[in-house]
Symmetry: C2
Subunit: 434 residues, 2 copies
């Protein structure tokens, strides 16, 4: 079977760029990035744009209890048809890039539109398609990250997710209600296959000259929220040996966490990105410091050993500064291989579209990792210029964005023809979805 | 000449405790302390209480352009009479003590009341008395500290002071206007003598078993607001050698600043009490860190050398973390001796009141230091239980509070009889002001 062109209203790549520009107006920053924290008015604006575009493209829009937005495209015309799902997230870090997450959501919308056009032109599908925007992927405002996709996949319950609080004490539930996105719709059943398009956020593709990254493995990540509790005192008269300085403990820990990475060059990444100090006054010895540390690696032994060193560093920093330490939360994401069939399908579609692809790791977490193990799951990368990420200067060449959209559209077309099975999708005759 | 008792309305010490309790209700914290940041509603409430009490005690109340509150007690009944001034500040740190600053203001009010009563009972004075509440002594909300007294003494102009901004971007002028304390009254002329009663905030008096500290010297202090600028990046994929982590530079600096103090045990105090991180998200390499460091010492050479080491540490930390460093502000308060005459007067009054006194240093800055050099200036300490300061657990025995009030009242009585001259005040026959 051979379908006809699916882009009756102009070039899909041009429409993608236009849509990305409209999303980036929601929470735009002066330097060309976005600040679109989960549950903020800017997030509400982006969600509203998505909902209107989904409806205009013929999707039925639903919002679940934790604010995940689903756009269901009825392609198979039968009850209980399997589902092919694509998406990512619209929330961002502070002063971050326009594409991180948004690309995957905008591309999924473009894919849905292309599939509906293909159906209208006579294509016959055996699965429905769903575009999704997951809530609070970033973990910038509410921790943990991957909260919406993690709840969908059953790693958290909705009550836990909704009760997460930002640094001002506002809960996710309150924030979502504030922008009208604490939904009541049922989330769709687990899809037959989930694929996510994302910017790489590293330099591997750029250095290799490849347009498409096929993610075969995710690095493991250990995260800790640590609280040091010392004693509030005057920075002047209080004798140095008497001080119990929570910030000093934090400083010792931050330096040591960096030193851990240096024991495994290239194999272990570590960081402390977040610190809150109380009372945080120039002439008061800090009584309390909260900080978030993480250790990432693709090597099981190195990850475990680096994690042990980080935990030991927490205790050592506390002892050295004469303060108390507590670990308020800890999470461990193991190193995992992504399943072969979606990878093979993506590589096939890249080859069909004549884009060079590369099998590679993801170091960053993505919503797809939440679904890993619940359904065949894949992650597709396009290059990040200069490897810049979580930065307003994040960018991807328009040609690479078009390549990403083309590969996702081909993969979705094959998947929806094949009832959602990536194995069967790869065995189909060549289709011509775009 | 011998004056009669000045406490017709009950025991002055009991009135002081009652007034302190009423001030501590303004911004009270659950653990028994106060949070009364400069220009906050709680500060406004405390200022309102002071204004009512001053007026009730017979003072003419004035508020100058930077919010300093003055209560003028007309004792001498002649134009151009010299002025004796006492006071301190009502603003506090976050979750701080009830007495820090407030004791000096409340005691000055009690002194004014006692002098008016003495006058009513026939005492003849040759100076007026003024109780003062200086704006933003703490530097907790607006930096620099000692802003109101520093402006009064001519170290800053009012426009500079009013334009200082807190971490939310609110200026001192806006904050004062918000609570109705951006005044239009002229500040009084420089007094003939200024004395300030304060809690010690250290353990020297307690360990010596003395009720009264006569401050003869202030430690020097070097302060720096440092900004490290790195590059915002993803904590996952960004290769470690590429990272330019502003928080890592901050951590190196905080640890090194502490190490500097350890080179001169007991002679140099150092600290970093305040850190702001941007964007401050768990999975973003920090782009910008602001921090406030200080170095204090009573030894000129140690202070200078420690200051040089601190400045070198800023540059070294930046280089090690591959970030830029800038010093946004720097202040240097030299080690200074306080003049002998006010010290001698305070020691005389303590002896008259049969309280053991001790000559000692102040490590902390106080508003009196702003006036040092513009008029004879003295600082009087009462003990801090356990040396605890800038902490909700700060406390002083009621007997020591009463001792402080008694000494201040005697000193004011002598000064106002002696036209404000501390030398002449000490040469007067013994008075009996309380």
């Amino acid at each position: 079977m051979r379908s006809t062109s699916s882009a009756p209203e102009g070039d899909p790549a041009a429409r993608l760029l236009d849509l990305l520009a409209r999303f980036s107006a929601c929470g735009a920053t002066p330097a060309g990035g976005v600040t679109r924290l989960c549950g903020s008015p800017a997030d509400g604006a982006a969600r509203g744009l998505l909902a209107r575009e989904l409806a205009a493209a013929g999707a039925r829009v639903a919002v679940d209890a934790v604010g995940n937005q689903f756009g269901h495209f009825a392609l198979a015309e039968r009850a209980g048809a399997p589902l092919v799902m694509m998406g990512s997230h619209l929330d961002s870090q502070v002063r971050s890039g326009r594409l991180d997450g948004t690309l995957g959501v905008a591309a999924a919308l473009g894919v849905g539109r292309a599939l509906m056009a293909a159906k209208a032109a006579g294509a016959v599908f055996d699965a429905d398609f769903c575009a999704v925007n997951w809530t609070n992927e970033e973990g910038a405002r509410f921790r943990p990250s991957l909260l919406g996709s993690g709840t969908y996949a059953g790693h958290h319950d909705a009550a836990f997710a909704l009760s997460r609080r930002d640094d001002d004490g506002v809960s996710l539930g309150e924030a979502l209600a504030g922008i009208g996105y604490r939904g009541e719709d049922a989330a769709p059943a687990v899809p037959a296959c989930y694929l996510e398009l994302h910017v790489e956020q590293g330099s591997v593709l750029e250095q290799a000259g490849a347009a498409i990254g096929v993610v075969t493995r995710c690095w493991g990540a250990l995260k800790r929220d640590v609280v040091f509790t010392g004693e509030q005192a005057h920075t002047g008269p209080t004798a140095m040996p008497r001080r119990r300085d929570a910030l000093l403990a934090g400083a010792y820990l931050i330096a040591e966490v960096r030193a851990i990475a240096e024991r495994w060059p290239g194999l272990v990444h570590t960081s402390v990105g977040r610190v809150r100090v109380a009372p945080n006054s120039a002439n008061v010895v800090p009584a309390r410091v909260e900080l978030s540390l993480e250790v990432r690696s693709a090597d099981d032994r190195a990850l475990a050993e680096a994690g042990r060193l980080a935990d030991a560093a927490v205790a050592a920093a506390a002892a050295r500064a004469r303060v108390e330490a507590a670990v308020a939360s800890r999470s461990e994401r193991p190193i995992r291989a992504l399943p072969a069939a979606p990878c093979d399908l993506v590589a096939l579609c890249a080859a069909e579209a004549e884009h060079r692809s590369l099998r590679m790791d993801t170091v960053a977490g993505h919503d797809a990792l939440s679904l890993l193990g619940t359904c065949p799951t894949g992650i597709v990368f396009v290059p990040s210029l200069g490897g810049i990420a979580h930065n307003e200067a994040e960018a991807t060449d328009a040609a690479d964005l078009a390549a990403g959209l083309a590969v996702m559209t081909r993969a979705a077309h094959r998947l929806c023809r094949a009832g959602g099975s990536p194995e069967r999708a790869s065995r189909l005759d060549r289709g011509e979805p775009t």
